[in-house]
Symmetry: C2
DNA sequence: AGTGCTGGTCTCTTTTTGAGACCACCAGAG
DNA sequence: CTCTGGTGGTCTCAAAAAGAGACCAGCACT
């Protein structure tokens, strides 16, 4: 995958941004990465990548998220352009959340991490257990 | 760990694991994903993917991390098997941190997200600005 | 003897998160 | 008509996590 000389100049530029001058705090890539990270964001992205969901459905889908964090995380995802929020004027008004094109695009990349986790979560578990045992 | 054995091969099965039965809290994939997420973890992984670094070097490289969080995050990454910690008995003892094979493997997947961020951070910025402006 | 570098830990304060009450609205049951 | 439940939230308060900075031992150079 990486070897030595990477054909991707962007990779080098990212590292440069980190190591050069220490101006990492302003790195736009970092902002996006940290916007992708976060306890609930990835989880909600995974759910919405499957299909659009309504607020209550998401709440039931991710039982251990508080209503407050669900509201806030969806708001943040919407703000970053990953999620579209649509209100339906039904009898009790319903709100549907769905991925935007940008969201689907981002999820395409993030999906690699999901697949890796799927294949390697056992190794991580073992490492964790070994570390906890051996100190 | 849970009733359903999650042996996911495809994207769809992952989503099923989320939506089926709502037992997402025990999903091992979720654990790993959230272990990858986090404000500093990704940043330190990026730095260490470039080359091994010592504690103080990392501190200078990521100026806005507190010493406390650097210690803790490195410890966590080591615990999960992504990072190797080696103490050199030099005059003032130095500690070098480097990626393990598992860490490099994980970073290979995560790298896709970095590349996406590199290409699309402008779109995210615009979305954010538009959202803040229009409400 | 004082200063600085090594990699940390300990304490205190601020920020973030979690738990749960509360809100207005409407539908159907009794 | 009241009672209950489901719609999507907001508000408050306590707990957990993160940030800021003091402090530590050991050694080198001055």
């Amino acid at each position: 995958m990486d070897g030595k000389v990477i054909n991707l100049k962007s990779k080098m530029e990212i590292y440069k941004a980190i190591s050069d001058g220490g101006n990492i705090a302003n790195c736009p890539v970092r902002e996006v990465i940290q916007g992708v990270s976060g306890k609930w964001r990835s989880l909600l992205m995974m759910a919405l990548a499957e299909q659009p969901y309504r607020f209550g459905e998401l709440r039931r889908l991710v039982p251990d998220i508080s209503q407050r964090m669900l509201t806030q995380t969806l708001h943040d995802l919407q703000r970053d352009g990953y999620v579209h929020r649509e209100v339906f004027p039904t009898k009790p008004p319903g709100v549907e959340y769905s991925l935007t094109d940008l969201g689907r695009s981002m999820f395409g990349a993030f999906h690699q991490v999901i697949l890796w986790a799927e294949l390697n979560h056992d190794a991580v578990r073992k490492a964790r257990a070994a570390f906890d045992a051996g100190g």
